[in-house]
Every structure is written in structure tokens, then in C-alpha cells.
Amino acid sequence: MKYDKIKDTLLSEVDSGLKFAQSLDNAAEFELFLYYRSNSNVEIRQGVVKATDGIVAGNAIRAAKDQRVSFSSSSGITPDRIKRSVREAIASLKATSEKDTRFQGFCEPKPPGKEGKFASKILELTTDDLVKFTLQIIGDMSTVNGRILAAADSNISWGGFAIGNTRGLQEVSCSVYNAGSAYAMAIDGEERRTAWEALVTREKPLDVTGLGEKAATKARSLLGAKKLNQTTVLPTLWVPEAAASYVLSSLQQSAKGNNVVEGLSPIAEKLGEKIAGSSFTLVDDGQNPLGIETEAIDAEGYPQKRTTIIKQGVLKQFLFDSYYGQIAEKPLTGNSSRAGGPFGSSLCYEYTPTIIGKNLEVSPGTKTEDELIASIDGQALLIVDVPIGIFHSDVATGEFSAVASSVFLIENGEKKMPLEPISVAGSFYKGLEQLQGIGNNAVMTSLLVKTPSLLIDGFSVTG
């Protein structure tokens, strides 16, 4: 299927599928989700090439009757596969008397938001272009001195999804993007240090110039690491990629309406309270035209929106889908997702709607990263990549323990030598309260969070 045929095709199948469902049980409520996406990828790792190209297509239906709700999905978007899902969902409904007493119905129709921008030139890219991008990234890495092991990939992804339900909602949204990444491992004797850089773009085809060199240079700068040799409490400066992991592991989790409603969010009772330093503002902008997660609608068909979560340190709003928004009696924020985001599943249609931040953005501060470093008295740590294990933190406790393996010592306002991996532990939320500074260097990270560097005091470090 060509890109320009996706919308009509998906909407037509949604309409037919819903009619079929109602023909089997006109007393039930139905919601049908169709997904179609082309993914092409070329990966080169130390000269070994792997190339893939395929269409991910699938359907999912939710059926509801007397507050019993079932979900069924199957691979493909052909009428026979859709009918298979419909029959299974109805069979599941009949097979149980267990109710979801909080279920109040599927999403009501609303005018959609806007799709993100994209360059039609991305759709014209070929496998040969992907090979060329990937080779260029690898070639750039080889310009850096020393022993560097190189891996890179580039890909094109285009497609869309459509949703319809028996409340009259029928919407569709499409998107296109082009991405590339560079992974470098610098080796000196038995010492190995790694770095990763990535680019995702939808407004123009990839320009990978400098990407490989940046990764290789960063990996090389981490060689010669020394032991910290102490267990103590130190300030930590998180560069954007690391800061993004902090935001994703903490506020993205605790601001989700499901965790708030289910009693699993440590900030559930803190609306209107100051929970972070006064200069900290966090928004989720599902309508940023250049945001990778920007779509006209969310995964239930509700228009995506811009939501301020924290403004100048004060907790303003949580993120909701229709299910939890209705339970909490809060406005919907268009944050329903089916296994999307940076850790999403390729078969996202197999997942029931849940809540996710779309395009999280931390507002920049006024200081450069160098000025933040210069503002530090005594020792601190500069964390330059995502700490190992930070995503294994538990949302309910708000406590974390992770290993910063790409880290430098800061001493008396200057960046010093790289350090061997250091365990960093503490409470995400106490950390936000002890925010010492925010950089002016906000960038879109590979974790799809736009953030500047964050300087935080009060974490235990061991190494």
C-alpha cells in the first residue's frame, strides 16, 4: 500500500469491521484499531551488515457490554483477520461474568488535532540511501584516533493508524520519520568505553554529518578512567541524554493518570504543590509539529494536546486517557498510547491503550553547561550518558539506584578526568526539590524527551 492510500484504506476497513461487529452483537459497544507501518533498516556493526524491510500490520478490537470489557488482536488488516479478532473479543465477553465496574465507555468523538510535519522526500529514500547514510556514519567514526569499534544504523518508517468506535468516532493519523544512530566503543588495552548518538527527523531527510565522529570522540574521551574511591553524597550534573532518562524514569511515570488513580504515584496527592525547583517547567506537547510522537489523535482517537505538567516547580496536571480521565473526573489530555514511545513494541496493535507522555519538554534555563560546571564548589559528577539500570526504578517508591558508566569528575568548577562506573542512588523527587541549576542547552534526545542539562544535589554515590 502506498502512503497516500493508507488513510482511505484504514478508514474503510474500520467502518466495515465495526459494522460486522455490530451485526454479531448490536447490544455491545466496540472500538476497532488498525495499524499499518513500513519499516526499513540497514545496520552495520564492524562490517557485518543486516538489512530488514517489512510491513507491520495488525488489528485490535475492544468489546464492552454490561461493564465487561474484552480485547482481541490479530496480525494483518484484511477483513478475515479483523473478523477473527471480532469473534474472539465477543467470545471472551460471553465467557466471563467478571466486570470492570469503572469502565464508562469508549472515547467520544472530538475534532482531531494536527499531524506532525514531514518531508515527502523521506518517502523517496531507498535501501541504497540507507546503506549510504550508515556507511557515512561508520566512516566518520574512523576519523577519530585510537581503536574504535563502530556500529551504526539508519531507517525509514512511515505509516498510520485508524480508530473507530460505535459512538461515532472514526479518525486516522499518519506519520513519517527518518532516523540514524552511531555506537562507538573505544578500546585501550582491557579498558572499553562506549558512547551512543542518535538523530530522528521528520521535517527533512537525515543529515548524518558528524554523528559518527561525535559518538567516537565521546567514547574516546572516557578512556583513562580513574576510581572515585569514596562513598559519599555529591551534586550530579546530568547532560541532556542522561537528564531525559531521569525525566522518563520519574515524572513521566508518576504523572501518568493510571499510576495516580491506582495509588502508585508518589505525587498523586500533590497537585498545586511545589515539587521541584522554581525554575523547573515540564510540558508534554503532543502537537509539536516536529515531535516524533506527534499525531492528530491518540491511540483511542482523542485529539493530542499540549499539557503543562509542572510550571515553575508547581505540579499542575497529570496525563490521562479516556479510561482513567473518566475515573478521576479530569479532562482528557490525549495521552493514550498502544506500546508507543522510546521503548515501544513493533507490534503495538497487540497492546491495550495505556498512558504515555508524547513529546516531553523541560524548559531551558539560562546558564550554559560550562557555567553550570563553573558554579560547583568542591566535587561533583558529570553524567554524560543514560545511567545503567535507571529504567528499572520503581514508580511507587520513587527511589532509584543506577550506575553511571559514562561519567567525569568535576572539581572546583572544572571538568576533570573520566571516572570508572559509579553507583548513584537516591529519591527522584527529593532530587527535583534539590535542583541547583538548569542549562540553556535543551535538545531533543534519542529518548524523545527534549531537555537541557540538570544539576541536582543530594544523591549518594559509590565507586
Partner: protein
């Protein structure tokens, strides 16, 4: 379906491919989830599709389709061939592989259970969760949330290739986890969890120790215990890791480093270390697709997704590195045998070297002897996962733990995380208990190269390790 796959192989060869692999998955996945009194998920998924790998000049190209239609499958072969041909121009390291005899599967290759999940209705499975959740509520204190889940994944996997292999077997994993979140007097949230999972029939949930009531009770009690737990101290301590955590250590740290694609590319610290002593005599790590499920648990994976029959591979033998986890191409490059470790999460992914069941072998200590030998340190229990970097740096989260002094458990601790470098850690293993248990889960799973979650088995005995770095309160 085999005929369609065989036709796809012939078509790929006709296009010009040197070698073609074709596979078909027809899998059913069921997920049930109850949160407190609400049934949040009653889910059934049918995952059906065809994956084609074409090799051109020792370079793979991969494509897939959800369709079983011959024309669509042929179109998929064309795409895979086109990708292979384009990619071959950029490959400077080519992973050719040796010809092997065709592999034919037998009906006995599918693991038989007494009560297969396909034979039980939805209410039976929901009742397992209800009983588990109610039991957790009775056992817990100051409960904020109880979540009970049930998962099953089963179905047919068919494979053929240019050598004429004919493989057809059924995968199965079931999982029944419970998680209880409680609130402390200061408002902090703590949790406890328990589960029983693996290639199992549902008869397991009638067996003593694994009933839904016992799983729920354990989760409730663990959460209640955490209410008064102290923060884990930061610093270096001797550790005793329980069987599950030992398994994560084997999988996340050493297992990934032994995957041969990392080795071929020079990215693993295990490059050129075959025959080298890396650990103490107490450290033996194996991987295999057909463990003694009845006795020890785990996952049944008799063939990988490249048609290689499962092996039991001794990766680390009493501290000495013996073998990597191979696919056919890496095996030839490294002059070893394929090990049955070429796996894909589903038909949408190209198979790559992955683990099957990876575990430390047991030693000769009882738990009491291990604690006595531990002296003063931390007994770290259960796990919510971990992560390893290419240089061997790792971090693992234990769900809970105990502070131990003079071989006696003193008090519970929370936020227990272990970190370090695996190659260093292996030299610090001081003993292992004699019990061996494995688990393979439906919820969770392994991630690599964008492919997740892949069901993997892991486990081992309890492992005694000195000088482990624990993150926590300074």
C-alpha cells in the same frame, strides 16, 4: 503451511539468493490482569506471520508479512532478496556458514503437559487470579494496590530452509505473578512480589508451593515486611544472591557478553578469551533449550529460529571460558559449532544470537552453610531486572533483601541494587548452594537490538559473592 514456506525458499533461490530460510509463527497470547477489584485486561492475541531471510554473498536480508497468501509471501521473498543484495555491497565482514544435513523434527520435540492452557476456559484462569489476589489481601498490611496477572503464550512454529529442513513444534509458557504495594507510616510506597512461570501445564498451580493462594500470600507478606525495612547501605559487601537473582546475573551480565555476534564484531570483552580463566572454580554457566523442566523449571526451546537443534552449551566451565552462543554464521567465523541460540521475538524480526535458558550450575552448600560463610553482608532476593553494558558494567535490582551479621539474618532492607563489572565479579564467586531452580516468564523478557520481549529462561543456585558494590544510602 510448510508447502508455502518451501515454495518461498525455491522462489528466493530462483531470484538469486544463495540460501533461504522461511519460518511461520501461529501463536496465541492471553493476558489477564486484575488491579484491586477491577478487571483491567482480558486480552487475547493471535500472532500469525511469515519471516523470510535471503542470503546473498553471505549477507542476510530479511522481510516479513502477516499474510499467509502465496503471492504476499513471494512479495516478501522479493523484498528480503532485494535488501540482501543491496546490503552485500556494504558488508566488509561476511558471515558465511557451512552446509549441514536437513533437520527433521519429531512430535516428541513438543513438551507435553497434563493441562494445556488451551484446554481451560477463561473463567478457570480468572479464578486463579481471584484466589491469588484475595490471598495477598489477607496476608498484606496497609495495602495500596494488589495486581494479579496471568499470561500464556503457545502455538506452532514451522521452519524450512534451502537444505530442506522440516521443523514443526509448539512453544508454551505460562506465568502467574502477583504484586502488592503497601504504604509505610511516612507515606512511602514499598512492594512485594511472587510468581510461578515457565513451560508448564496449569496443573502446576495445584502443586504445593505454587498454588495461587501461596503465591498471593507470599507477595502480601513480602510487601508487609518491606514496610519496616531499612534502606540498603551503600558500599562493598559480601552478597548471597537467591536463585532468581543469580539467574539475572547469568543472563544479563555474562550471557549477553557470550552472544557470538558481539564476539565476532570484537565488541565483547570475551573476545579471544576461550580457554582463559575468568572466574573461580565455583562459577560454571550453561545455556540450553531443553533443560530438565520437570525437575528445575525453565523454558522448552528444542529448535532455534535458524533450524538448529537445541544444545546444552557450557559457556564457563569452573571459571574457564569454553564456548560462545552461536548462530550458524558466527559459529563458522569463530570455528565453533552452532549452539541453537539464533532466535527472534516474533516473525517481524530477523533471528539473532540470543539466550535460551542461561544459568549458573549448583554447588555443594546448603542455604544455612552459605549464610554462615557469608558472615556479615547482604542476602539479596528476587529481581525486577538489570542491565549490562558492552564493557561488562552491570546493575541489577533485587526486589528485597536482608542484612546479615555473623551468618544470621538481622532485618529486611529495601532498594537493593548490585553493580560492578561481570568479569571482576566472576573472580569473587566463593560458593554456590546445591539447589537449582529456573524460571521463564511471559511478562517481561529479554531485550536486544530492538527486539523485545523475548521469553528466556534463567536461574541457578544461591551464589555467594564477595566485595559486591551495593548502591544505597551513603
Amino acid at each position: 503451511m510448510l508447502e508455502t514456506l518451501q515454495a518461498a525458499v525455491s522462489y528466493g533461490e530462483k531470484l538469486g539468493a544463495d540460501f533461504v530460510e522461511a519460518r511461520f509463527d501461529d501463536l496465541t497470547l492471553r493476558t489477564l490482569r486484575r488491579i484491586n477489584d477491577t478487571w483491567k485486561d482480558i486480552i487475547l492475541k493471535s500472532r500469525t506471520g511469515v519471516g523470510i531471510t535471503c542470503y546473498y554473498d553471505a549477507t542476510p536480508g530479511y522481510s516479513f508479512t502477516a499474510s499467509e497468501d502465496k503471492e504476499d509471501v513471494n512479495e516478501t521473498v522479493k523484498r528480503a532478496y532485494k535488501m540482501a543484495k543491496a546490503a552485500s555491497t556494504a558488508a566488509s565482514l561476511k558471515l558465511d556458514f557451512n552446509e549441514r544435513p536437513a533437520v527433521k523434527s519429531q512430535p516428541s520435540d513438543t513438551f507435553n503437559v497434563k493441562v494445556h492452557p488451551r484446554t481451560k476456559d477463561l473463567d478457570f484462569k480468572m479464578d486463579l487470579i481471584n484466589r491469588m489476589v484475595e490471598s495477598a489481601r489477607e496476608a498484606g498490611k496497609d495495602i495500596q494496590n494488589v495486581t494479579g496477572r496471568y499470561g500464556e503464550l503457545f502455538g506452532q512454529k514451522i521452519f524450512t530452509n534451502s537444505e530442506g529442513s522440516d521443523i514443526n513444534w509448539d512453544f508454551l509458557v505460562v506465568d502467574l505473578p502477583c504484586r502488592v504495594t503497601s504504604k509505610t507510616s511516612t507515606g512511602a510506597l514499598v512492594f512485594g512480589s511472587e510468581r510461578k512461570a515457565g513451560t508448564l501445564g496449569l496443573e502446576i498451580y495445584k502443586q504445593k508451593g505454587f498454588t495461587p493462594e501461596e503465591i498471593g500470600k507470599a507477595a502480601g507478606e513480602f510487601a508487609a515486611e518491606q514496610i519496616t525495612a531499612k534502606a540498603c547501605p551503600a558500599g562493598k559487601f559480601t552478597a548471597l544472591t537467591d536463585n532468581d537473582l543469580t539467574g539475572v546475573l547469568a543472563h544479563e551480565s555474562f550471557g549477553h557478553l557470550s552472544e557470538a555476534d558481539f564476539v565476532v564484531m570484537g565488541m565483547s570483552p570475551l573476545v579471544d578469551k576461550i580457554g582463559t580463566r575468568l572466574g573461580t572454580k565455583h562459577a560454571t554457566i550453561v545455556d540450553g533449550g531443553v533443560p530438565n523442566i520437570t525437575k528445575n523449571g525453565g523454558l522448552w526451546i528444542p529448535y532455534d529460529d535458524q533450524g538448529t537443534k537445541a544444545n546444552m552449551t557450557t559457556i564457563l566451565d569452573k571459571g574457564i571460558l569454553r564456548h560462545y552462543l552461536q548462530n550458524r554464521g558466527t559459529a563458522k567465523n569463530l570455528n565453533q559449532e552452532p549452539t541453537g541460540n539464533c532466535r527472534a521475538v516474533h516473525f517481524g524480526f530477523i533471528p539473532i544470537p540470543r539466550m535460551t535458558n542461561t544459568y549458573f550450575m549448583p554447588g555443594d552448600l546448603t542455604k544455612e552453610e552459605a549464610l554462615e560463610q557469608l558472615g556479615t553482608g547482604i542476602y539479596a532476593i528476587q529481581t525486577s531486572g538489570g542491565q549490562v553494558e558492552g564493557d561488562g558494567s552491570f546493575l541489577f535490582k533485587a526486589d528485597r533483601g536482608y542484612w546479615v551479621e555473623h551468618g544470621k539474618i538481622q532485618h529486611p532492607i529495601r532498594e537493593v541494587s548490585l553493580s560492578g563489572n561481570i568479569l571482576q565479579l566472576l573472580t569473587q564467586v566463593e560458593g554456590a548452594t546445591r539447589d537449582l531452580s529456573l524460571m521463564g516468564t511471559y511478562f517481561g523478557g529479554c531485550g536486544k537490538g530492538g527486539q523485545h520481549p523475548l521469553p528466556c529462561g534463567l536461574g541457578g543456585p544461591k551464589l555467594l559473592i564477595k566485595d559486591v558494590t551495593f548502591g544505597g544510602q551513603a
